[in-house]
Symmetry: C2
Subunit: 188 residues, 2 copies
Amino acid sequence: MVRWEPGARERLKAAALELFARQGFDGTTVAEIAAAAGVTERTFFRYFADKREVLFTGQEEFERDFVDGLGDAGEAHPMAMIARALDRAAARFPDERRPWSRARQDVIDVEPSLQERELLKLSALAAALTRALQLRGVDATTAALAAESGVAVFRIAFAAWIADGEQRSLPELQRATLAELRALVDTV
Amino acid sequence: MVRWEPGARERLKAAALELFARQGFDGTTVAEIAAAAGVTERTFFRYFADKREVLFTGQEEFERDFVDGLGDAGEAHPMAMIARALDRAAARFPDERRPWSRARQDVIDVEPSLQERELLKLSALAAALTRALQLRGVDATTAALAAESGVAVFRIAFAAWIADGEQRSLPELQRATLAELRALVDTV
């Protein structure tokens, strides 16, 4: 099934997702995940703080991609910086990752505590983008509006990307969503 | 100090906010709030499920104002409906309420669990507006974009409204923020 023997981290992620899908998030223990991945519990905890974090690993890198993608200060308009950040962040979600992201969402959709965790993650991203734009000389209100709009575009495009049957790439969907936001707001 | 003897509910809200501000949210008990308001704990629980809910009371009415403010199906453009909903919801926050909202925010700002509760409240509002727009015939992506934009405008305008020294009304600030969003997104 796999072309190369994946490392423990990837095996743990795959095993956790399969168990969460089959027996529920609450009904799955770290011991079961470790056993299914063929490692010890101790190894599990070398990679993840708890079973929830298997689904939220990489948040720092995710935020850093967004913030780095803004580019340098004073170089471009705030929304152009946000558009670039969206493109950069989407590189983390190539189409090969779509099945994993879909399975992950199915687990989150039936577990309110995971939905809250996802919401906090995106809220932290908006706060990080707001701060980063302010550091690049954008005033507070504009920075907050640009950051919140960018995160809304990401969230909505990402939901479309993992919808059944969707074929377009995440960057394509993000650009289409940003264009739609522009058309929508333009009519006020 | 007050022109009329307020009811138990208002006395409880005022007493709770004063205690939270003075001795912290965690450091305040329901018994203390009830005593400060001159009522029994039993009376407290007739009005509020717990001390946290004193700060989040009226969420259903708040959401209903927004949704009712959208108006009827097919009558207007989605962002025009959102603009009307913002105006309607702002009626809940006349300038007399600003000191209370400021004091409430000061309590929330130092307590992460209250910040999460506020975030969930606004997320629930965005979901309610998305559903309501879809029920009015707006497609899913446009509904989500319009709802998320509307909530972002509310959140940013509300933060400005309670900032030190701000004199403008909430409806004024919301309209200015919506205009800024339009100008911002227009340049993509």
